[in-house]
């Protein structure tokens, strides 16, 4: 089996995540899709690490995880704030920029 298979998997997961961001309206689901994309990227890094034979890829993946954690914390806080003021978790309702 070729290590490239992991990359294909990663690409597909990433695509699915991207579609999810576009298609779903629930802010939490959108967020999970973003996480999916980050994870897909992580999978690539780990695979690259394996292909190249050093651990740099894994370190980057590690950093990605930390950043993803930060992002989740802040993002969810934002969702809570929005929910508190608008009683909705739909991203379509937060479209004030239009006006």
């Amino acid at each position: 089996m070729d290590a490239a298979n992991y990359l294909y998997l990663s690409a597909l997961l990433f695509t699915i995540g991207a579609v999810g961001v576009v298609v779903r309206r629930n802010a939490i689901v959108v967020f999970m899709c973003i996480e999916l994309m980050l994870n897909a990227a992580n999978l690539s890094f780990v695979t690259f690490s394996r292909i190249n034979g050093d651990l740099n890829g894994q370190v980057v993946a590690f950093f990605t995880m930390v950043v993803a954690a930060c992002e989740v914390v802040v993002g969810l806080a934002i969702i809570v704030t929005i929910y508190r003021s608008r009683r909705s978790a739909s991203v379509d309702d937060a479209s004030l920029l239009r006006r």
Partner: protein, 630 residues
């Protein structure tokens, strides 16, 4: 080399100073303004007399003097000095302008006494005198041009002096615009002269005529003729003169009879060297003169407005002068002579008309006059002297000058001479007819006055100038022609080729002219003296009378050919500008806005659609990479 003088400028400076002082001082000078203006004009006249005496004391070749004031315009080879030239020709004009001008100033003191803006009137009169003097004293065509437009301005201001009446305001505008058409001709002439000869001074152009081809000279000549036509109210730009009678009567006497309208004659005689070398242009001058002569005379027969009748007469008399000036070296002096005598008798008659109007509550309709001989004896006598002069009854002024013109016309040679001779004779007859008509309607017969009218003789300040002018009308002809004094005086200026054809001997011409005059007078007597005159102009008159009353349809023609199409063009262009040119500009703006609005839909505020665009962008980038990798 011409002699230099340092005193010519005072001729212009004195009246100019008067105009400036009166205009700037405003109401403060109401009390003494008219006196100052009159005094300055008179002093200018005395400066003129002084210059004349100086001239007499010099041999004829050294008589012209010049004065360079300062460098006016100098760009490359285009060098124009503010320079003045006083020669035998201009001194005639200077004396006419300042002399008649002073008389009319005096007359106006009384005539305008009740006008609240008398001071301004005198300021304008002084301005006119200054501009007119500049016109005749300028030593180049461009300096002349300044005076030329200056008198146009003064004429505009004075015609429109009572511009609270819309018709008068329109008349003044009409005069200015039609004059400007003529001025355009003068500027063309100057441009051609500079482009071909490299100079526009009289002396320079005269010297360059030799080296210049005939077509160019013809072109300059025709353009000068256009200028003369505009200023001197010749056919086809004569329509403004009748309307110009809207101005106060002294203005009509000074500007529209004695001086400004004769500027065209001055221009042609001044440019004799060009016309002598351009026969085609000269022929055109004669034709224009002949047409106008008849034109004015015909209009004169139909006018009931005394001033308009006199204006038509002026037009016709200037036609005589132009015609004569177009006949070349033999004619110039006679043209000037008629100009001078005309200046006297026509100014006198206009002042007389003013005096009549003064006594008749500013009524101008001759049909409402009648039998004023008794009420205004002095006016009658002075007007009558002018009348005899214009008819050409010996020994009054017109006899000398007009007969000379008729004679010169006959002597022009060939069929041209015969045609011109007949035209001038006919003109003399018609002149006699309409002037007699004026006399009869105004001074004889039964009174047809309005109830309120109380005819009375004018105060001495008014009749004195009239008397002086009447004396001039009576004697000037003899004085100027005895010993050929004027002809000799002017002869150094004109190249004379003494070739007398002598188609008819002078005595026969005079006799013919007198016969024509007698016929004209007789017809007028038969028509107007024998029966009652309607106080209202009869309506059921022949088509010819109606056309003559309408100034031979000239206004209609101008209106139909120039004014209406012009107004339509203006309206169309205004619309085009707003709809098409500005419309195109606005359309670009609208298109941009529409594009923006349609693109704005993309920015719908939904995060998800932005994400979709990011996704598409990523796709596009990958495609780009893929293409490159391929």
């Amino acid at each position: 080399m011409m002699m230099n003088s340092t005193s010519i400028v005072y001729l212009i400076a004195l009246p100019l100073a008067g105009a400036v002082i009166l205009l700037l001082a405003g109401r403060r000078s109401d009390k003494w303004g008219h006196l100052l203006a009159t005094a300055l004009c008179a002093s200018s006249f005395f400066v003129g007399l002084y210059q004349l005496s100086l001239m007499f004391n010099r041999p004829s070749q050294e008589r012209p003097v010049s004065q360079k004031l300062f460098e006016w315009i100098s760009v490359g080879t285009f060098k124009i000095d503010a320079g003045l030239l006083l020669d035998q020709l201009s001194i005639c004009f200077v004396l006419l302008i300042t002399g008649v001008g002073t008389l009319i100033h005096i007359y106006s003191i009384s005539y305008m006494a009740h006008d609240p803006h008398r001071r301004r009137f005198f300021a304008f009169l002084n301005l006119f005198i200054a501009a007119m003097l500049l016109l005749v004293l300028g030593d180049s065509y461009l300096n002349l041009y300044v005076g030329w437009e200056g008198v146009g301005l003064a004429s505009y201001l004075l015609i429109g002096f009572w511009n609270e009446k819309p018709a008068y305001a329109t008349a003044s505008k009409k005069a200015f615009v039609m004059n400007r058409i003529g001025d355009m001709g003068l500027s063309f002439a100057i441009m051609i002269a500079f482009a071909t000869m490299g100079t526009v001074s009289f002396i320079g152009v005269q010297a360059a005529v030799e080296q210049t081809s005939t077509p160019v000279l013809t072109g300059i000549g025709i353009m000068l003729l256009v200028a003369a036509i505009g200023k001197s109210a010749q056919f086809p730009l004569q329509a403004w003169l009748g309307d110009a009678m809207a101005g106060p009567t002294p203005v009509s006497a000074l500007i529209h009879a004695a001086t400004m309208v004769t500027a065209g004659v001055y221009l042609i005689t001044r440019s004799n060297f060009i016309f002598d070398a351009a026969p085609t242009a000269q022929l055109l001058v004669v034709i224009v003169g002949a047409i106008t002569l008849m034109f004015g005379a015909l209009i004169g027969t139909a006018k009931d407005d005394i001033k308009k009748a006199l204006a038509a007469s002026t037009m016709s008399q200037i036609g005589y002068m132009i015609l004569c000036a177009g006949l070349g070296p033999v004619g110039y002096a006679f043209a000037i002579m008629h100009l001078l005598t005309h200046g006297f008798f026509k100014a006198g008659m206009f002042l007389g008309a003013g005096s009549v109007m003064h006594g008749m509550n500013d009524e101008v309709n001759m049909r409402k006059y009648g039998a004023l001989r008794k009420a205004m004896p002095i006016t009658f006598v002075t007007f009558g002297l002018g009348y005899l002069a214009i008819l050409g009854i010996p020994p009054f002024a017109g006899f000398y000058s007009k007969d000379m013109i008729i004679e010169t016309a006959f002597n022009a040679g060939g069929s041209k001479g015969i045609i011109l001779g007949i035209v001038t004779l006919l003109g003399a007859g018609i002149t006699a007819f309409y002037m007699t008509r004026v006399m009869i309607l105004t001074f004889t017969g039964t009174p047809r006055w309005d109830e309120k009218a109380q005819p009375h003789e004018s105060p001495w300040l008014m009749w004195l100038p009239m008397a002086v002018l009447a004396i001039g009308s009576a004697t000037s002809g003899y004085l100027l022609s005895s010993n050929d004094s004027l002809v000799k005086w002017l002869s150094p200026l004109f190249e004379s080729h003494e070739e007398h054809h002598e188609l008819l001997p002078p005595i026969i011409v005079s006799a013919l002219a007198l016969v024509m005059v007698a016929i004209g007078v007789a017809i007028a007597f038969l028509k107007y003296s024998r029966r009652e005159i309607d106080a209202v102009a009869p309506k059921n008159v022949s088509i010819f009378t109606r056309i003559a009353r309408e100034d031979l349809m000239q206004d209609r023609l101008n209106e139909a050919v120039f004014m209406r199409p012009g107004q339509e063009l203006t309206k169309t262009l205004v619309k085009t500008d707003a709809v098409i040119i500005d419309g195109a500009v606005r359309a670009v703006g609208r298109l941009t806005i529409a594009t923006g609005l349609s693109l704005r839909r993309v920015q719908n505020g939904f995060v998800r659609s932005y994400a979709a665009f990011i996704l598409m962008g990523a796709l596009a980038m990958i495609v780009a990479i893929w293409v490159v990798v391929q």
